[in-house]
Amino acid sequence: MGYTKDELLARLKELQIDFVCYDHPAVLTVEAQAKYVGHLGGALSKNLLLKDKKHRYYVVSALANTNIDLKVLSQRLGLGKGGLRMAAEEALQEILQVPLGCVTPLALINESARDVSLLLDQGFKSQESCYFHPLTNEVTLSISANSLDKFLVSIGRQPSYVDLEANPAVGKDNPPDLASLVPSGIPTLPDKVENAVTSIPTGNDGLTVEKPTKLAGEAKSPAALQKEKLQKVQSSIDPLAEATNIEKLVKEIMNKTSTAFLNEITKDLNDSQIAPSISDVVKRRVSSDLEHMMMSLKNAAYTQGFQAGFQATLRSSLQSLSMQK
């Protein structure tokens, strides 16, 4: 699960980093943010989450008035001319675990952002304080560049300050100057694999099998790993596909229900051992039926939509036909 603002601020305090927080209504743009904190003297930042063709991610954090040319940046990273583009909304949730409009270098505290590269505007260094969102749109965090560095080092990152407006020639004799900032790994998305421990009995034909342990732990070939992550990234792009993903929906419903039950039961029983195994059994029994019911729902809803679409097209065709006469 992603860090909350409070957890982040607690961490900053632990590190004895000075900061100031300003609360305001949720803001999605720098302009909106400026309305509330623009007059306070600190430097507003604009933050982008970018993605390259090999599904590697980059957070580019710059002063609000720095010009960022994605084409130039792409070349400097060695990705060719059109290698960078804005990442999809879903990536914000899945990789940085922040809401829309809330990209921030501080999100790198999350494990899921482990493989995201960070490019910081060298302009920050000359500012007394810089403004970033601390994992929520409703707060602006004021922090010095040095303090930001301290934080980044504490989470295992080397801060990389870059002249984002520079446009050096990139060619045979001039290798891309930012190539070292390209991540070597691919971001791991939250583990959607169901951790099932099943025992395979000895069948009549004499096959003896050991119990497989958690599926997540099995060694995979790099190709399989890459392909899996690619798949997950691709499937998270279409919101309709997400909304109609029955397996995911059922898991969420079951988790919410069983968590709620568990909380109530453990309150009464004072024994946290029994309840989880009961809830597992209940989950297994109900999930299958629930999945079937949801599939019926999905098919029925699709059919209704299909019918409506068909009728609508028919009507408009007939209308235009009769008008031609």
């Binding site: 395979i200 599926l215 899996e228 019926s296 098919n299 019918q307």
Partner: protein
């Protein structure tokens, strides 16, 4: 002597590169050995079917536990019951499909039914249940062919009746839980034409008359419709696998399932004419209880004393076999086999458990089927874009 589940015919079209089909195989064999051909399967003198021999003879590969684990790893979920328990015991080139999948390339599923009767029994559902699992686990599209034209020719039904049966069967198939955003169902009478027909002709050109006679045993009395439409799966699929490379396509892969036994056991015949030979999806809980108690062949001993002493014969016991197909919980099945085999559990108890499991299954199917209206069938059968078919 147990027969096949209904012969599901599929025409040998490879519209797209790779296919996986569900099949139950057969070919002519010597009379004194086990007999396996398109119309019957017998074991040697009332014993067990020797699957290893089958595998060897037809050149399939065994579906072993390393294969099952590979599937689990690639799909990120437990394998289907049928795979875990060896119900599906052999395959052709399924490893290649897994390789394709691992590389991030695409494949799709293809299965079908020859709609010859209205009533479907559990044996008919087994391949569809497995196909649904494949669709969900690999997130791939599925094409289902209803060969109403073939049944019209072979079973001497009218065209209208064949088409009607096709639609009725489609409802039961849909009720198995296929995803409308990645499933296309078609009936031959409604769909053959265009690109599909072009493929049919391409394939037909690669198959000689002699070959067809050799595989299917036609005689001069058989009407010509039958020749262009051989009835049974596995020889048909093997023909496809032979032809596909010749017209520029990759060979489809296959999975073979073991035969779903009739209620009366290996010596019984599962047929549409004997309603007590199988559990139908239209059976009430009372029917199920009655059928299981009265007709399910038991491997238990003839008296309680003997049973406690010797235990049950799990090889021939039908309730245990059926539970192997339909009881989800591995631990419980294990426990039952142990207790029943040792004689501590009685036939009555195991039958009671089976009745529970089957009733739940049939009830769930019935509910789902009630939600499949003609409009839903129309939507599944409409020629339409499927943008999310791989997501």
């Amino acid at each position: 002597m147990s027969r096949f589940p209904s012969s599901q015919s599929t025409s040998a079209m490879a519209e797209e590169p790779t296919k996986v089909g569900s099949a139950g195989g057969g070919d002519r064999e010597g009379e004194d050995e086990q007999v396996v051909n398109p119309w019957e399967v017998t074991a040697k003198d009332g014993g067990k079917i020797d699957y290893d021999k089958l595998i060897e003879k037809f050149g399939c590969q065994r579906l072993d536990e390393s294969f099952v684990r590979r599937v689990e790893r690639l799909t990120g979920r437990p394998a289907h019951v049928f795979l875990r328990r060896g119900v599906f015991f052999a395959h052709r080139d399924f490893n290649e499909i897994l390789d394709v999948y691992e590389r991030g390339e695409k494949f799709f599923l293809y299965t079908g039914r020859g709609p010859s009767s209205e009533a479907l029994h559990l044996g008919h559902l087994v391949p569809f249940m497995f196909t649904k699992y494949l669709q969900d686990a690999f997130k791939v599209p599925l094409v289902i062919q209803l060969t109403d034209d073939e049944k019209c020719m072979w079973k001497n039904l009218t065209v209208e009746e064949s088409k009607r049966l096709a639609r009725e069967n489609a409802k039961d198939i849909i009720a198995c839980g296929f995803d409308i955003t990645r499933t296309f169902i078609f009936s031959d009478f409604s769909y053959v034409g265009g690109a599909f027909y072009e493929n049919m002709v391409k394939v037909a050109k690669c198959v000689t008359f002699n070959k067809v006679v050799g595989i299917f045993g036609f005689t001069n009395e058989d009407h010509i419709g039958k020749i262009s439409f051989p009835p049974v799966q596995d020889p048909y699929f093997r023909m496809t696998r032979d032809v596909a490379p010749r017209i520029g396509y990759q060979k489809p892969a296959l999975i073979e399932s073991s035969f779903f036994p009739a209620l009366q056991g290996e010596t019984g015949k599962m047929s549409a004419s004997d309603p007590n030979s199988a559990i139908y999806v239209t059976d009430s809980s009372k029917d199920i209880k009655n059928k299981v108690n009265r007709y399910a062949f038991s491997g238990g001993q003839d008296s309680i004393e003997n049973h406690r002493k010797y235990g049950a014969n799990l090889e021939v016991d039908i309730p245990v076999k059926y539970l192997g197909f339909f009881l989800e919980d591995d631990a419980e099945l294990d426990h039952i086999k142990k207790e029943y085999g040792a004689g501590r559990m009685l036939t009555g108890e195991i039958k009671k458990r089976l009745v529970e499991v089957l009733s739940e299954l049939v009830e769930r199917h019935r509910k789902a089927r009630a939600l499949v209206t003609d409009e839903v069938v129309d939507a599944f059968m409409a020629v339409r874009p499927l943008p999310l078919m791989f997501s």
